[in-house]
C-alpha cells in the first residue's frame, strides 16, 4: 500500500511573537519544518510527502529550500482556516488504497523510531496515535470552579496520527465541527473506530512559544 505523510504547517504562529510562522523559524540554524520532512524521508525514502503551507508563504518556503539545500521532494498544498480545512485540502492528493500519517510541522523532534512504531501498530487497526502519560496533577472545569481528576487515566496525544486512507477520506466528508482538534477526533466523530495508541515520546514536543524553541535546541544538543 502507498504510504503518505501530510505535514501540517498552515498556521501563522501568532503565539511566537514573530512575523515568521513558527514552522519556518530556525532551530540550530535550520527551519523547524525541515526536521520533520527529513525524519519521514529518513524512515522511508519512498513515502509521499505532502506539505500544507500558509497561502502567503509559498515563495518564502521555496527560498528557504534553496538556502538550506532541501532536496527531498514534497508536494505542496495551501492551508485552510483551521487544521481540519488544511488536512482536507491535502487529502485531494491521496489515493483510496493507502496509509496516511498526519504530522504537526511544529513537532521537529519526531524520531524515525516513533514513526516506525506508529506505522507498525496500524497493522492491527484503522487509526493509531502516539500518547504520553500526564505528569502534572489534573483538574477539570465544573459549574462552580474546578475539581481534581485521576491523572493516571489520562494521556496526552501527539502526532504522527496514522490512518487507512479510506477511513480518513470518508471521515473528512463530514462537515467541520469546532471539537476537531486533531485528526483522530475527526475520524472518531464519523464512525465507531477503535483508535490504537502507541507509546509516544516526551521529546516529541510541539513548538508553540519562543520558550519551546529553546527547549527543542536543548533536546537536540543531547543527540
Amino acid at each position: 500500500m502507498k504510504k503518505y505523510v501530510i505535514i501540517v504547517a498552515g498556521g501563522n504562529g501568532s503565539r511566537m511573537g514573530s512575523d515568521i510562522p513558527k514552522q519556518f523559524l530556525l532551530l540550530k540554524g535550520k527551519p523547524v519544518l525541515m526536521y520533520a520532512i527529513e525524519a519521514f524521508h529518513g524512515y522511508d525514502s519512498e513515502i509521499k510527502i505532502i506539505l500544507v503551507l500558509p497561502k502567503g508563504q509559498l515563495d518564502y518556503w521555496k527560498e528557504l529550500c534553496k538556502i538550506h539545500q532541501m532536496k527531498i521532494p514534497c508536494r505542496i498544498v495551501t492551508g485552510g482556516v483551521t487544521r481540519y480545512h488544511s488536512v482536507k485540502n491535502a487529502l485531494e492528493l491521496i489515493e483510496k488504497n493507502g496509509v496516511v500519517a498526519i504530522h504537526d510541522g511544529a513537532r521537529p523532534l519526531i524520531s524515525r523510531e516513533l514513526i516506525a512504531r506508529t506505522f507498525q501498530a496500524l497493522g492491527k487497526g484503522k487509526a493509531v496515535c502516539p500518547v504520553i502519560p500526564v505528569v502534572d496533577s489534573l483538574r477539570i472545569q465544573t459549574n462552580t470552579g474546578t475539581r481534581r481528576v485521576n491523572r493516571e487515566l489520562y494521556f496526552q496525544v501527539q502526532t504522527p496520527q496514522i490512518f487507512l486512507s479510506k477511513i480518513l477520506l470518508s471521515a473528512y466528508l463530514k462537515p467541520y465541527m469546532p471539537e476537531f482538534t486533531d485528526d483522530i477526533s475527526v475520524v472518531e466523530a464519523s464512525r465507531r473506530c477503535r483508535t490504537i495508541t502507541v507509546e509516544g515520546s516526551p521529546e516529541n514536543i510541539k513548538i508553540t512559544t519562543p520558550v519551546d524553541l529553546l527547549i527543542a535546541e536543548a533536546l537536540l544538543s543531547t543527540k
Copy 2:
C-alpha cells in the same frame, strides 16, 4: 499571619538515572533545590522555610550549603514514604494561625511573581493552586481502550499550593490514601473546600528526567 513554605524534596530521583537525588543535581552550577529557596526568600525574607529532605541526605545537604554559601535559614525535617507523609512531618512545625505554601523542590524556576500571585489569591479563600492549560489533545482510559476528551476543560496543576494553616492541619489528620497526588487533593478529600486557581507559568516545570534539567538550563539562559 505567619507565612510558611514547605519545600518538599524528599524523593530519591530514581527516574533521573543518577545516584544523586534530582533536587541536588546542579543546574547552571547550583543545586536545583536552592533556586526555590532563593525565590521564596526573595519574595518575603520573613517567610519561614521548612525543607523536607531524604533521611540519608542531611549531611550531603549541609555540605552543599557550605560549598554554595547558602545562608538562607531553613528548618529541616526528613521525608516519609510518600509526599503525603513528607508533608505531614513538616506540618509539626506549623502554627495554627498562619498561611502555608507547599512547593515541589524539583520546580526551581518558580518566580517571585507567581509566588506573590498565589499568596494574594488566598485572600478570597482557603486553598489556592496555580494551573496552566493543557496544550496537547487529551484522551481518557476506558474499558475498551481510550477516548477523546475536551482538553479545554482541563488544567495542569503546579505548585506552590497555598492554604490556611488550620485547613491544612485538619486535612492531614485524615489517614493516607493513594489518590493523594498533591496537597490540594488531601484538603479536598477532607472537606468541601472550594479551591481557587490562579494562572501558573509554563516555565514553572517539574524536573523529573535528565531532559527536564536541560530544558531548565535553556529556560534560565533567557533570564
